[in-house]
């Protein structure tokens, strides 16, 4: 099967910040409840309420963060607080799927408004280069550079190892996981943090998604962040073991055919549970139908109707749902199928025990 890792990698920590929970314990509890058929799951409202900064430097730095960077930071704060990884952070790897949702519109407006001679006057290049420039946060340009979603938390937490930021509307975050896993396996770093964060409900992002026609096709744009911590061999308790991580292009053979191929492949060694997380309800229905047909005995957890699509954060939240429902009395092996608006299908499998 495509994407099987040479050896499983331990997942030793997780953090979530999304509609289903503003921390890992509440996210996990709700996922377990959903799988048990509970119908009374309450969701967080948008915009998600961000907790106060943990330190003065963080408070200062938050003023320079995009919404995506803020969400990534808040979730990573939780993860690193729970992990005994205080030493040698300069060697920690860090891989992220990051979105295009950028800087503050209000900053941009201030810049433009200051670029007119007076109220209502036409835009002036001269004023733009002078008064406009002075009106703006000095680091505004960096709110729109995607890698700052990764760099802000890395600076705050001193993460200095191998890294990359993949632009993601789905598959990019899975590429980040694959890269993080191989970085650990090949010894680029002993431990790595992998995640995704995005803010699809900012006005600019929403306008982009509308323009591309995704909102009319049922996209429920959302925001959130999710992280997992990878270690080559678990020093302590592992939440699960990453066994497989890959993406499939649907460009040539079409979405339905590729879905069927993936499910047929999974029949060879079926997981006990599937997490299905496509970006709209039509695909959710298609996947649920195909999954029941190909893997009739597999339990299914459907996420789209609960979480909407937080773009670059989506795959990471899918992994977290899988990890939340692994273990004694739950699933021994769970596969996550995710597809974002980039149309690629991601397949990621976690097992409860290191079996391979």
């Amino acid at each position: 099967m495509k994407g099987i890792l040479p050896q499983p990698i331990a997942v030793v920590g997780a953090a979530a910040f999304c509609q289903l929970g503003l921390d890992w314990p509440s996210f996990r509890e709700r996922c377990i409840g959903l799988l048990a058929g509970r119908k009374d799951t309450t969701l967080q409202d948008f915009p998600l309420v961000v907790p106060k900064a943990q330190s003065k430097p963080e408070k200062r730095q938050r003023r320079l963060m995009s919404r995506s960077a803020l969400l990534a930071t808040v979730a990573l704060n939780e993860l690193l607080k729970a992990l005994p990884w205080d030493e040698q952070r300069e060697e920690l790897g860090c891989y992220m799927g990051v979105g295009a949702s950028g800087g503050s519109e209000e900053q941009l407006f201030q810049l433009l408004e200051a670029s007119r001679e007076n109220v209502g006057a036409p835009f002036s290049f001269q004023h733009f280069g002078e008064e406009g420039l002075r009106s703006c946060n000095p680091l505004y340009a960096f709110q729109i550079l995607h890698n700052f979603t990764l760099c802000h938390p890395s600076i705050l937490h001193g993460l200095g190892g191998a890294n990359s930021a993949f632009f993601s509307r789905g598959a990019g975050t899975t590429h980040a996981l694959s890269e993080g896993a191989y970085a650990v396996l090949e010894g680029d770093c002993q431990r790595a943090l992998v995640g995704g964060a995005d803010a699809g409900r900012t006005p600019m992002a929403h306008a982009e998604l509308e323009r591309e026609g995704y909102l009319s096709k049922g996209l429920q744009a959302a925001e959130g962040a999710g992280w997992i911590a990878l270690e080559r061999d678990a020093q302590g308790h592992a939440l699960g073991w990453l066994e497989r991580c890959t993406t499939y292009s649907t460009a040539r053979n079409g979405f339905e055919r590729v879905t069927q191929d993936i499910l047929q492949e999974l029949q060879q060694e079926p997981p006990e549970q599937l997490v299905l997380y496509p970006w709209n309800q039509a695909l959710q229905a298609l996947w649920a139908k195909e999954a029941k047909q190909h893997l009739p005995n597999v339990k299914i957890l459907e996420l789209e109707s609960l979480l909407g699509d937080p773009l670059a954060a989506g795959p990471a939240l899918g992994w977290l749902a899988a990890l939340a429902t692994l273990g004694e009395g739950h699933s021994k092996r769970t596969t996550v199928l995710h597809t974002g608006i980039d149309t690629e299908i991601s397949v990621v499998t976690f097992s409860h025990q290191k079996e391979r």
Binding site: F125, E130, Y140, N147, S164, H175, S178, P203, A207, E212
Partner: protein, 419 residues
């Protein structure tokens, strides 16, 4: 893990302010020419910088068919400059490599940041949001749909270039867009190397593009005081006062096929400074870890030539020079060093890729390009600089650095292929 396969550079291509292909551009670089000049396509009066290294000629669409363009919803009035530049460089690299492989074994790895909405688009956004200094969310909600129709979303998505190339080549291997600011394209080539090593694909089209000569970016970088007020890019020179924005695209084809290869990718390294949003750490710790990792991966202690990040900013160049000396020790005294940014400016997401092409010229033909603009080396940047014109000298190995705002560092080491 099984033995790591060797990765070769089978083709290169570039569009630069000097020309529409790499050989034309290389000739100008060899002679020590400078492409930086006044920006004339918008009014830069009172801007923090009024110059850039920009491409004056119309760039034709030579590679992408209507089908790929249609899929990306590219319209005539909303052309994506990144895509125009990148496709020309990719065509050159792909044709030079002349490799044949199934699409499912081809990967695409592109370093790119967002495209830029036109100023008209930004002004339309402002109008839709009420036109004041605060966003009127209610008004914006009502007008968002109309506003959204006024710009082409594919033009602002970083993934546009990689998606278009995947469509063109029917590539269904990994298709990745790396957005790491100034380290984007170097890191994309690192990812391509890793993907072939990991067996995820056999051939990779990789590289990067920068198209940031526009009002918003000139103001954005100007706010930071990162641009040269003197309008001069002179890396490692005592007179340096900031970088000059440039534009262009550079692409490479990587494969496991050594036949006719231009060079071998021998080592890769990456690190994060975890220090500051805009400054490198004073002791160059992140840069040193990235270089050491790449050298270790290549099995080398030092190289014959360094194509430096060399931005011409006061801090970067001093820190990078010290890091090179520290990493390579006394051996650094025999390593030639130059930075292409003196000639073609700073391409941001595309910078690392054009740097790597310069390194390929060094190991393949022994052509070591000069740092244009460097006349009075700063003592704190003491290295074996190449100034004036290119020199011809045998080069066995070369190292290429890219360091990004935000602290991401990426380094590639290449070796000469003995034919």
């Amino acid at each position: 893990m099984s033995e790591t396969p060797r990765i070769f550079i089978s083709g290169v291509g570039a569009v630069t302010p000097f020309g529409m292909d790499w050989s034309t551009s290389l000739e100008a670089l060899r002679l020590g020419k400078c492409a930086i000049r006044k920006v004339t396509h918008f009014d830069t009066k009172d801007f923090p910088s009024t110059v850039a290294a920009w491409i004056e000629d119309d760039v034709p669409n030579v590679w992408l068919h209507d089908m790929e363009r249609e899929k990306l919803q590219l319209t005539e009035h909303a052309e994506d400059r990144r895509l125009l530049l990148a496709q020309m460089a990719a065509k050159e690299a792909w044709e030079q490599a002349s490799l044949s492989v199934e699409g499912k074994r081809v990967g695409i790895f592109i370093g790119a940041e967002s495209g830029r909405a036109t100023l008209q688009t930004v002004l339309a956004l402002s109008r839709a949001g009420g036109g004041g200094t605060k966003l009127d969310h209610e008004r914006f909600g009502v007008r968002a749909a109309d506003f959204a129709q006024s710009f082409d979303a594919s033009v602002v998505s970083p993934a546009t270039v990689a998606s278009a190339f995947a469509g063109k080549l029917q590539a269904t291997g990994p298709v990745q867009t790396v957005s790491l600011a100034c380290a984007s394209s170097n890191a994309a080539i690192v990812e391509a190397t890793r993907a072939i090593r990991m067996g995820l694909c056999d051939i990779a089209l990789c590289g990067g593009v920068g198209a940031d000569v526009d009002p918003l970016m000139l103001v954005g970088f100007g706010i930071l005081s990162a641009l040269s007020a003197k309008g001069r890019s002179c890396p490692f020179d005592i007179r340096r006062d900031g970088f000059v924005v440039g534009e262009g695209a550079a692409m490479l084809v990587l494969s496991k096929d050594s036949e006719g290869a231009l060079a071998e990718v021998a080592g890769i390294g990456r690190s994060l400074d975890a220090y500051h949003l805009t400054k490198p750490c004073d002791d160059g710790d992140g840069a040193k870890r990235s270089m050491r990792q790449a050298l270790r991966d290549a099995g080398l202690g030092c190289v014959d030539y360094v194509q430096a990040h060399g931005t011409s900013t006061p801090i970067n160049d001093g820190v990078e020079a010290a890091a090179i000396r520290d990493v390579m020790g006394v051996e650094s005294e025999r390593s030639y060093v130059s930075s292409v940014k003196g000639a073609v400016g700073h391409w941001i997401a595309g910078a690392g890729a054009v740097g790597l092409l310069c390194a390929v010229a060094a190991v393949k033909d022994g052509t070591v390009l000069p740092t244009v603009g460097l006349e009075q080396p700063d003592p704190i940047c003491a290295l074996r600089h190449v100034m004036g014109q290119a020199i011809e000298v045998p080069i066995q190995s070369a190292l290429v650095n890219s360091f990004a705002f935000g602290g991401a560092n990426s380094t590639i080491v290449i070796k000469r292929c003995e034919q």
